[in-house]
């Protein structure tokens, strides 16, 4: 009796992915990307330079969030792939005289390729052990690059990619093309993650993050899911590294501020924690927050990093869902529909 009554009283629910809000927002985001593509025509050089910075920060935040927020993998070594991206682009464009933008594209693929054997070594480890192992790998990459006697790589003193750009482009052209390359990379990687997380893999990844053993026991291929994420994150961080190279033109291999430096990981953790770990939209908000902090606060100095670490600790302890996660919880909105929602047909109210 009671169960039958419960069935009768249970509201009719329908699974939905798209809501009017998310349709509108996804449309708006697509138009925004299209609009931003016209920035070189409309906006000044300074604004374009600033936006390039924002773009590679967004890429890094998305990649780190994909690992930690969706795969439960806290990597402290993604700077290794940022460095590989930058140096692979130097190697191809300076040493082998390839077009610098083609080199950037190839370097991104190289980053993904190198992530495969790294994944085979580190993905067996969990939590802290995984974190430190990725860091050791990144340090090893940095040392290997700094020991390379090849004049194009420049060893420990760093190198410059000014020549391949200057041979082919004027500084204005270089700025425009780098801007478009960066915006294109953001759009492609955003779309790739969006498709990936909406696919079967997205569901299995969430199962892995929530409970690895339970996920494995119901047939989720844990290592495959994590491996796909790790390779995508490796390629994405390499892409960010190539954009950094094209933007600042010279790179160093060693030290916390270098292209292989641990400070990148500090920035990634800050962006993802502030924006919202495990939310699709959060990293973008976090990247904007970091951008605002380094534009209007102390940029690059000692206090900048003290603030960065302090705020990250504060968010981890006091607001673990970050800005976007908290908004999502309170107002029950999802702007980019990566999950499923249950919608009450009668009342029209939905829950994620």
């Amino acid at each position: 009796m009671t169960s039958a009554a419960a069935v009768r009283e249970a509201p009719a629910m329908r699974v939905q992915r798209w809501t009017p809000v998310s349709v509108a927002f996804t449309g708006a985001l697509t138009s925004l990307v299209a609009l931003l593509a016209f920035a070189p025509v409309v906006l000044g050089e300074n604004t374009q330079n600033n936006l390039i910075q924002l773009y590679f920060l967004v890429i890094m935040a998305m990649m780190w969030n994909a690992l930690a927020g969706y795969g439960g993998l806290v990597s402290v070594g993604q700077q290794g792939f940022i460095g590989i991206g930058a140096y692979a682009a130097v190697f191809l464009s300076v040493q082998h005289s390839l077009n610098p933008y083609l080199s950037m594209l190839l370097a991104t693929l190289i980053g993904g390729l190198i992530a495969v054997p790294v994944a085979a070594v580190v993905l067996w480890l969990r939590h802290g052990a995984f974190a430190i192992a990725t860091w050791v790998v990144a340090e090893s990459f940095a040392i290997l690059v700094s020991l390379d006697p090849n004049p194009a790589i420049g060893g420990g003193t760093g190198t410059s990619a000014l020549l391949p750009f200057d041979l082919r482009y004027t500084p204005t052209q270089r700025l425009h093309y780098t801007y478009w390359a960066a915006l294109g990379a953001v759009a492609v990687l955003l779309l790739l993650l969006f498709v990936l997380l909406r696919s079967r893999l997205g569901g299995s990844l969430q199962a892995i993050r929530d409970d690895e053993e339970a996920a494995a026991s119901v047939g989720v291929r844990v290592l495959l899911g994590k491996g796909v994420l790790f390779v995508v994150a490796g390629a994405g961080c390499a892409a960010a590294g190539t954009i950094i190279l094209a933007w600042q033109l010279s790179v160093l291999p060693l030290g916390p501020d270098s292209v292989f430096g641990i400070n990148w990981t500090a920035k990634m953790i800050f962006m993802v924690l502030v924006g919202g770990l495990g939310t699709f939209e959060g990293p973008i908000i976090g990247a904007v927050a970091l951008y605002v902090l380094q534009t209007y606060g102390p940029n690059g100095g000692v206090w900048y990093f003290v603030l960065l670490g302090g705020i990250a600790i504060g968010f981890a302890l006091l607001l673990p869902r970050g800005i976007w996660g908290t908004i999502q919880e309170r107002f029950n909105v999802q702007l980019l529909p990566v999950g499923y929602r249950l919608r009450n047909v009668a009342t029209g109210k939905g829950t994620p």
Partner: protein, 294 residues
């Protein structure tokens, strides 16, 4: 003979790493967290000793008298404030907060002590050495460091085995909830474990600072070496960390013998090889279980 010298010095260097690793291993064993700021806390110990020797004109060894109790208190409060809260929030949060702490410490040290290198005076023992042969001399200070490492590891082992605190630590490590049922205050036990861990870190930092110069960013390397020693030695055994430290030290100095720039790299490579070998065994175990299951 230079190879022999590299190996002997590597063994002795392993003592510093074992000292560093013991606190990391203790915290991992009891609380299941890896404190990413462990190396940075060791470095803070070295800088505090530097301050005391500079301003009070005392020897580095005497500076340990205030530094070690200070580290105990610091570890206790670190656990009670930041780490306890992190632990409650899941397994990822302690990594994020201790990483944040690592960044904060490195930059505060840079602000207060400048990015330049510092070093600690090891006293008269620093110049004394036992000349075994023309190409092999063993510095007494290295022997002292190794002795301190053995003493600390042995002491920890004794505390864990034979004292009330040790029994509480082991019980909480095994199962914190059940330990609470039999009247153990797990929070207090965690705080004491963190206090001991930070104190050993500070001790290791001071000895490291006497051995070689350090800068505000050295904490990261300290952490990596400590963790490598723990993994090479096998997680879960204190004497294993000594063995792991020795293997790491030998790997680094033998590498440096080939080319001075291979120092850190050869340690990393040995660590990764050990990891691959272990996971290879794991993977084979997995395929065996799967085969048996089908």
């Amino acid at each position: 003979m230079t190879w022999v010298s590299a190996i002997v010095h590597g063994i002795l260097l392993g003592g510093v790493y074992a000292l560093l690793a013991s606190g990391l291993a203790l915290m991992f064993g009891v609380m299941r967290i890896i404190n990413l700021a462990h190396g940075s806390l060791a470095l803070v110990g070295a800088y505090m000793a530097f301050l005391l020797t500079e301003h009070l004109h005392i020897t580095t060894y005497l500076a340990l008298a205030p530094v070690l109790p200070g580290a105990l208190v610091a570890g206790y409060f670190l656990q009670r404030t930041m780490l306890e809260r992190s632990l409650r929030a899941g397994q990822l949060v302690p990594l994020l907060t201790t990483f944040g702490l690592l960044i904060v410490i490195a930059n505060l040290l840079q602000y207060f002590f400048s990015p330049d290198v510092h070093s600690l005076d090891e006293g008269r023992i620093g110049t004394a050495a036992w000349n075994v042969s023309s190409s092999l001399s063993i510095p007494w200070f290295d022997v002292l460091t190794f002795g301190v490492a053995v003493f600390v590891l042995g002491g920890l082992e004794l505390v864990l085995r034979h004292t009330q605190l040790g029994r509480e630590l082991r019980a909480t490590a095994e199962d914190a909830d059940t330990a609470e049922l039999v009247g153990i205050n797990a929070r207090a036990v965690y705080a004491r474990a963190a206090a001991i861990a930070v104190a050993t870190a500070a001790l290791a930092g001071v000895f490291y600072g006497m051995r070689s110069s350090f800068d505000p960013n050295a904490g990261a390397d300290q952490l990596l070496y400590a963790f490598e020693a723990v993994v090479i030695g096998g997680i879960g055994s204190l004497w294993g960390t000594l063995w792991g430290g020795v293997v790491l030290g030998v790997a680094q100095l033998v590498g440096a013998q080939i080319n001075p720039e291979y120092f850190a790299l050869s340690g990393h490579v040995v660590f990764l090889v050990v990891l691959v070998a272990r996971t290879g065994v794991q993977a084979r175990g997995l395929t065996l279980t799967l085969r048996r299951a089908t």
